[in-house]
């Protein structure tokens, strides 16, 4: 199914698309392009979204079911695999395209739905519960009573530049990518522009690094460009190890050629002849597709020696990361590429002058690089018209947690947080109340309901005391406990700190221990009395300060963000945990208290036998009771009781 596309249209695409100078295409060319773009079709085409989400949801089985269906009914049709639309909650997604009709998308497709869906489509009797929508087209006939994509709230409120091709083109076909306008910017740049001009363009566009700090990309490139050195390197950082982020993964899986094009243009601008893609080894499908994309680009002469006779040489090498969050930090990433422990270095020297193998090195993340061909294609002025004064362009987020749609979102910089959560992602699941949104993963922070009108751009978000970070959003509802979430991130951090500098290694560990002690009843042998617990919270603030002030790298400096932001906005919840020893959301298990409802107790003694601390007293056939001072809140009695006589509070 994932068979490699052969290059039957190679010469055509190079001559008539890449090398073509004129804006208007000849009719013949247009027609042939239409075929490659799957617009002019003479038989039905079925697309299946194959990406890491849909595979887990069972998309791999769909291919066989569809094939069986077509063979049984003797229907001639093509099956094409595509990436992801970004709507992860509704995978697997398939689309059916019948000659003359618009492309029609179905969601939540399981093998058992295939017959009814395809029967319906081929007989103009549409299976409503699985329908997602249809594409708009000037020429083709639309389906009746099926919403158009641009009417769906999810698409309507986005501005898709980076994600434009995702879910539509075949990520394993360079031909489809070129037919969709790809590699044209790259071809033009290496033939018509000097590297310096490209640096200038990007600097003028005010593109900022999407990795977190928001440093001006063009400015950084120029430092490396101007540092004299025989060898310079570009590293595309696709090692997204934020435990809740998946945008780079899905982006690479859905449109790998765009990533390659971004790398290629940037490499040219900086004067790099060898670029690396650092990608998590767990991202097997993404690696497979990017590898394939590199091979295809080489086959088209877009990578390698003397590219398109421009005299420019470029090699792109994939390096698989072995699992370490800290390698998202550029100096740690460089250590890792050199085959060492992923330990960061003190800056200066900065990688742009002294990085990989002590040569000038630029580290950019995937989204930043993908913005580059867009800027080149559409022009700086157009690009600058999008976004806010200081934050230009769009921003991609992954949204998960308690939202209706777990999805990828791309919105213009300056969009309101509320629009993203409630419009694009469909609001809170199961009609629950919105509580908070955690932005930026373990280095990010929590925002509350009153921040929903915050604009999403570097400056506005920074004003709330957090940074965009990895731009993953995890939405919490009333059933979630803030302390529990912060504890989770601190635990993540104490494992992921590289362990080198004292504030980060010891500070995260202490902060985790403090959070653990306040989400626990104060009755273990360490004697966590209320005073100590309160002192712990006082310490949290000074620990957070020391981390910010003295840590070596960004990981440590930002490790306290979740704590600081929640202390600011959810102080009451902390106090509830410390003084009242209660967790309103009921998440902190160890804060729970148990009592026996004497009316229901039969005196079977089972709970007393099972209690690990001997906190339950009572004789056979008499009512039992729990001595609270001995109870550690493990809940075993609750699980054991056959008469529901144990009540938990």
């Amino acid at each position: 199914m994932l068979g490699k596309v052969n290059f039957k249209n190679k010469d055509f695409l190079i001559q008539n698309v890449l090398k073509s100078e004129s804006e208007i295409l000849e009719k013949e060319v247009k027609e042939k392009l239409g075929i490659i773009q799957r617009k002019n079709i003479d038989k039905p085409i079925i697309t299946i979204s194959i990406n890491s989400t849909s595979i887990i949801s069972g998309a791999h089985n769909l291919n066989k079911s569809i094939n069986d269906y077509l063979i049984d009914r003797d229907i001639e049709a093509d099956i094409v695999s595509v990436g992801s639309l970004g709507l992860c909650s509704i995978e697997p997604v398939i689309s059916v395209q019948i000659p003359g009709k618009t492309q029609l998308f179905y969601k939540n497709v399981l093998p058992e739905n295939i017959i009814s869906i395809l029967d319906g489509t081929f007989n103009n009797f549409i299976q409503e519960e699985n329908v997602l929508g249809q594409l708009t087209d000037d020429i083709l006939d639309p389906w009746e009573k099926v919403p158009f994509f641009n009417e769906l709230a999810y698409f309507k409120n986005q501005q898709r530049l980076v994600l434009k091709n995702c879910g539509f083109i075949n990520p394993e076909s360079i031909e489809e990518y070129i037919a969709a306008g790809g590699y044209k910017s790259y071809y033009n740049v290496i033939n018509k522009n000097t590297p310096e001009e490209v640096c200038d363009l990007i600097e003028a566009s005010k593109l900022r690094g999407r990795g977190g700090q928001g440093y001006l990309t063009g400015k950084k490139w120029k430092i490396a460009y101007e540092t004299p050195s025989a060898q310079k390197y570009l590293i595309c950082n696709a090692g997204e190890s934020d435990p809740g982020a998946f945008m780079e993964r899905i982006l690479i899986e859905s449109d790998p050629h765009k990533v390659i094009e971004g790398i290629a243009i940037s490499a040219y601008a900086i004067g790099v002849q060898k670029a690396f893609i650092y990608i998590e080894t767990e991202y097997t499908l993404a690696i497979e597709r990017i590898k394939n994309a590199i091979e295809q680009a080489k086959g088209f002469g877009l990578l390698g020696h003397d590219i398109m006779k421009s005299g420019y040489n470029l090699d792109i090498v994939i390096k698989r990361g072995a699992g370490a969050y800290v390698c998202g930090e550029e100096t740690a990433l460089i250590s890792s590429l050199e085959g060492k422990r992923g330990k960061p270095h003190s800056k200066p020297p900065y990688p742009a002058t002294n990085g990989l193998y002590n040569q000038p090195t630029i580290v950019n993340n995937v989204e930043t690089l993908v913005n580059v061909p867009i800027i080149i294609e559409k022009g700086v002025d157009w690009y600058k018209s999008i976004g806010t004064e200081e934050s230009k362009g769009t921003k991609v987020f992954s949204i998960s947690g308690k939202v209706e749609y777990t999805c990828l979102v791309e919105v213009e910089m300056g969009t309101k947080l509320r629009d993203v959560i409630f419009r694009v992602a469909g609001g809170i699941k199961n009609e629950k109340r919105f509580k908070a949104v955690h932005i930026g993963g373990p280095s990010g922070g929590c925002l509350t309901e009153k921040h929903l009108d915050t604009l999403i751009d570097y400056e506005s978000v920074m004003l709330t005391g957090i940074s965009l970070g990895s731009a993953s959003m995890v939405v919490l509802d009333e059933d979630n406990c803030i302390i529990d979430l912060v504890k989770y991130f601190m635990n993540f951090m104490q494992h992921e700190s590289c362990g080198l500098c004292i504030p980060c290694r010891e500070g995260t560990r202490r902060m985790y221990e403090i959070l653990k002690s306040i989400s626990k009843r104060p009755k273990d042998e360490n004697g966590h009395t209320t005073l100590q617990r309160f002192k712990g919270v006082m310490q949290l603030e000074s620990l957070a300060e020391i981390l910010k002030d003295t840590s070596m790298c960004g990981l440590g400096k930002k490790a306290s963000n979740p704590v600081l932001s929640t202390l600011k906005w959810f102080r009451e919840e902390y106090e509830d945990h410390i003084f009242e020893r209660k967790c309103d959301a009921g998440v902190c298990q160890e804060l729970k208290t148990f009592e026996i409802n004497i009316d229901a107790c039969t005196g079977c003694t089972l709970c007393a036998k099972k209690c690990p601390t001997g906190a339950i007293f009572g004789t056979v056939k008499s009512k039992h009771f729990i001595v609270q001072d001995k109870c550690i809140g493990c809940g075993i009695c609750f699980e054991t009781c056959k008469f529901s006589a144990i009540v938990s509070k």
Partner: protein, 574 residues
């Protein structure tokens, strides 16, 4: 190029390219550090050296940040002091609370910093680290619970010793220092040199002590407790005992050891003379037969273990002569025992060494005779100091004494072996005499002295060019060994000492990270050689009489049996 910076509202001159810390130190401003080591590139791990720089939002580590034109620095602002204090408190929060019982009590950098920063209350308490105490090695004990992960041992072991026994393990809250595959130290490639102990700021690494058994034996009336002390320790003790720095305290040492209760006190220097005679004879033989050349020295036990595990193909090249410690050990339990009519079982032989690897050497199987060890206990210089304190000996009021018979003479080379290059120089002198029957006109061979990693000296003896090489530290040793493997053939003798500078800088010496003090120790040794009358091993009168009445001539059957040993390949993870 000089630039001007502002430190604590005072203008000072800085050299462009140097770090803030270097500038501060040159100008007499002290900033605490934990992970820094002189002569090593900074890692910036401990963050103790942070300073406040105007215009920067976070604090800046002064050890790794270069000075910049017109920087405004505050080294002791409230914010800086508070941060440093907090860092120490963080380290203490899960540190074992047993300073009083700690091997480093009183010499601990963490303890000192806590005092310096006025830590007097436990504000932060953390879960203690549960770590296994690794006592498996005969030389070094590792207590990971006290480790603050500064990484100094890792760097010394890799960058100075080229052994790389240690590295960091895992990350985050699980970070630790371990050996390869997390093996116990005695199954690792550790050569017991003890350089890691020298740099450890806390009590995470210390020597395996033989203190108690020595005390017990000193009180055992049936046992004759005999002590020998290494030629190198007399120059490193003065400072610690409150005497003039670098003063040679041989005479005092003899008296002190007697006062403590050792029945006999011998200087290992005597055995060193004997070792030089044996090695010179061995070398003369090898040169005559043109086999197993170059001959490589064998007195450093660290090097010997390293050779057995990393260069087993060199075994035939290494001199079979035992180290001075083991020669003395063998003589004490044979010649001395016979002479004094004591059965060897009733002798408890203690050696006092600047070295933790000597503890390992003493328990090698080859170093026993009929099941009795030649050496029963090895104390490091540091342990000796404790012993002196324990017995309350006042070194200022004690009269100097001589070592005991029958080993109470030495030549100056007996001391010189304590310095890197000393063995080679001594052998040149004795070999020349052996081959020509004449002494060298100038005994001082400057080319073999100094602190360079590799020193070479060529001499023509009876028309033959003979080459001597001195290697300082294992890093250069490894380089030379691969050259020999590749066919380097112009040299005939190689002296290898594992520790840079030789035994004066051994891993058992009082902890000292000041290069000047170390150099002074070497100078002291060479001063002895310059001043004394008997400057060649073969003129040591008691050595001559020992050969005459007991051993026969050098390399006799008896010599081979008692003064020589053999080596075997070791399988460890390299």
């Amino acid at each position: 190029m000089l630039i001007e910076i502002d430190v604590n509202n005072k203008k000072i001159q800085a050299k462009k390219g140097e770090t803030i810390l270097e500038t501060l130190n040159r100008n007499g401003i002290k900033v605490p550090t934990l992970c820094r080591m002189e002569g090593f590139s900074p890692t910036g791990a401990c963050r103790m050296c942070v300073v406040e720089v105007e215009g920067k939002s976070a604090l800046i580590p002064s050890c790794s940040h270069p000075v910049e034109e017109s920087m405004k620095i505050r080294t002791h602002s409230p914010r800086v002091i508070q941060s440093r204090k907090m860092l120490v408190e963080l380290l203490l929060s899960n540190h074992p609370d047993d300073c009083l019982y700690c091997a480093s009590n009183g010499k601990c950098e963490l303890q000192d910093l806590a005092v310096e920063l006025n830590v007097c209350e436990r504000r932060i308490s953390g879960e203690k680290i549960k770590a296994k105490l690794d006592q498996s090695s005969p030389g070094i004990v590792k207590d990971s619970a006290k480790c603050i992960l500064c990484g100094r041992c890792v760097r010394v072991c890799e960058e100075v010793m080229d052994v790389s026994t240690f590295d960091f393990y895992k990350r985050g809250n699980k970070t630790a220092i371990t050996t390869s595959m997390n093996k116990d130290l005695n199954f690792s490639n550790c050569i017991n040199c003890g350089q890691c102990i020298q740099v450890c700021p806390t009590g995470a690494l210390f020597e395996k002590t033989n203190f108690d058994i020595v005390l017990q034996m000193l009180n055992n009336k049936d046992t004759t407790v005999v002590a020998q002390y290494s030629p190198s320790i007399s120059v490193s003790l003065a400072d610690e005992l409150g005497l003039r720095q670098g003063k040679d305290v041989n005479g005092i040492l003899n008296a002190v050891l007697k006062r403590i209760g050792f029945a006999k006190v011998f200087a290992t220097a005597f055995a060193a003379d004997l070792a030089i005679c044996e090695q010179s004879a061995e070398l003369a033989d090898r040169i005559a037969n043109d086999e197993n050349l170059p001959m490589i020295s064998s007195c450093c036990p660290g090097w010997i273990k390293h050779m057995e595990q990393s260069h087993p193909d060199m075994i035939d090249l290494v001199s079979t002569t035992k180290s001075p410690q083991q020669i003395m050990g063998a003589l004490v339990k044979s010649y001395f025992a016979q002479k004094e009519k004591i059965t060897p079982e009733k002798i408890f032989s203690v050696s006092i060494m600047p070295c933790t690897a000597k503890k390992f050497e003493a328990q090698r199987e080859e170093m026993t005779h009929k099941g009795i060890s030649d050496i029963d206990a090895v104390l490091t210089t540091r342990e000796l100091l404790k012993l002196i304190k324990l017995f309350g000996v006042d070194v200022h009021s004690i009269d100097e004494e001589m070592p005991d018979n029958p080993f109470n003479t030495r030549s100056s080379v007996g001391k010189m072996v304590a310095v890197s290059g000393g063995v080679a120089e001594s052998i040149v002198r004795t070999l020349n005499y052996k081959l020509t029957g004449k002494e060298l006109s100038d005994l001082k061979i400057t080319k073999l002295r100094g602190f360079k990693d590799l020193r070479e000296y060529f001499i023509k003896i009876r028309k033959q060019q003979i080459g001597f090489t001195v290697v300082n530290g294992l890093k250069s040793a490894n380089k030379l060994i691969s050259e020999i493997r590749d066919g380097k053939s112009d040299i005939h003798f190689v002296e290898i000492m594992a520790c840079p500078g030789g035994c004066v800088n051994g891993g058992g010496q009082p902890t000292c990270n000041d290069v000047k003090v170390l150099k002074n120790r070497s100078k002291q040794i060479y001063d002895i050689d310059d001043k004394e009358a008997i400057r060649v091993a073969h003129k040591n009168s008691k050595v001559i009489s020992l050969y005459d009445e007991y051993l026969g001539e050098a390399l006799s059957e008896k010599c081979i049996k008692q003064l020589h040993t053999n080596y075997t390949k070791r399988e460890v993870l390299l």
